[in-house]
């Protein structure tokens, strides 16, 4: 499979604090990568550096051979190609579900409104929210909001999808409905980089697991070797913190 995203020597510092320290990662088309690590290890920052929401101090991020961070040209055209969904959903509260979904395609991609609506309705149907098309975000549950946020990102036809702890703010019984959507996206071959604390989900969805600690990639591998045969002590310790036996 061909490489779609390349991250080399990415370094992010806030003054003296090094958050990401010369991180390298190559992502193939259709690959699902799951990043795990303790809070504050830099995994969310890593995602934010990929679509240039954060400036980086060293290294570069390239999408399909084009350097996107540090960005030379127009940032917005790069971000069109990389979708991102956040922990806090961030639907636009003054717009209905449907309006939320078509805003960027119509304004940014200049897609015909009717066409955008048609596509939006199909996507809503797919995630079981067609009946909510005219609801405002405050009328939805957390899980519903997050499903809308995911399909809103899909409306831009991103080449890579970044999911930043998208179930972290949800009530436990709503986690499943959101993760099921992600799993179905993985099955249709979407390239995704996912940050999550849901290890069972990670195991089910990941092609490759990555463990970040202290701003560096400490260990990576297939879910099978990652969970069953962790090589480093730090990963062992991290995985142990999730079990209760």
């Amino acid at each position: 499979m061909e490489e779609i995203l390349n991250i080399s020597n990415l370094t992010k510092r806030y003054d003296d604090l090094v958050v990401l320290d010369h991180v390298n990662l190559s992502v193939k088309k259709g690959e699902v990568i799951v990043l795990v690590g303790t809070s504050g290890c830099g995994k969310s920052t890593f995602l934010r550096c990929i679509n240039a929401l954060e400036k980086i101090q060293e290294g570069k991020v390239s999408l399909d051979g084009e350097v996107i961070n540090p960005a030379g040209g127009k940032l917005n055209t790069v971000r069109e190609r990389i979708g991102m969904v956040f922990q806090s959903y961030d639907l636009f509260p003054h717009k209905t579900v449907l309006q939320n979904m078509i805003l960027a395609p119509v304004k940014v991609k200049k897609i015909n409104k009717k066409e955008a609506e048609k596509e939006a309705l199909a996507l809503l149907d797919r995630v079981g929210l067609l009946s909510k098309k005219d609801s405002y975000p405050h009328q939805l549950s957390g899980g519903q909001k997050q499903r809308v946020a995911i399909v809103r990102a899909l409306m831009m036809h991103p080449e890579v999808l970044l999911l930043d702890e998208i179930t972290a703010a949800l009530d436990p019984e709503m986690v499943r409905e959101v993760l099921d959507v992600v799993i179905s996206l993985a099955r249709e071959g979407r390239t995704m980089i996912i940050v999550t604390h849901e290890l069972t989900f990670a195991r089910a969805v990941a092609d490759r697991m990555i463990f970040i600690d202290g701003g560096k990639i400490v260990e990576e591998g297939s879910p099978e070797e990652f969970f069953n045969h962790p090589k480093t002590d730090r990963l062992k310790k991290f995985l142990d913190s999730f079990s209760y036996d």
Binding site: G83, M84, K107, Y136
Partner: protein, 219 residues
Amino acid sequence: MNAEVLISYFPLYGEAFWLTVRIGLIGIGLAFVIGIVTAFFSYFKVPFFSQLSKVYIELFRNTPLLVQLFFIYFGLPKIGIRISAEVCGVVGLGLLGGSYMAEGFRSGLEAVPKSQTESALALGMTRGQMFFNVIFPEAFSLSVPAIVANIIFLLKETSVFSAISLMDLMFTAKDLIGLYYNTTEALFLLVLFYMVMLLPVSILGNVIEKKVRFKMFGA
């Protein structure tokens, strides 16, 4: 209170009412535009213009309208700029109101969570698209209570226009009292006409406030 006096005064108050409303509305419209533009400059920290906005806001927020009107009406002619009392009223109200509106919008803009900005940017919007489609509409509905309060405040501030001999409600009342000494009737009509002007604004403001709140937060 003498009903005949009230009736005979009524048309004079009517005229003054429309003058006050006209200058008030145009002035507030101007204030609105100034407020949005200044808030835009400060939000995007546009070099030079954001500093200029700050100086403007502090200057006009911290001086009384009467002083500003005197400056425009009596001061500017000294350097050759001569404008009519009406234009002076509009400009004065616009400049004072602009500084209040700017602060109102700023409070709204600052209350929009930063994550809204990021999710708009992450969808590929330019900063302009983000501002006009996402941040400003949200900030606007958050600012509605402050803006309604400003509008009522500014309409009431028109009462100092009499000082630059604009025949507004206050001027009419003072004039009539000076001429005929029917103090009770003159003051009664003054209060009545101000209420007629401001009560609908206040009620309408409440309705709008509830409407936009409901849409955003369902409260």
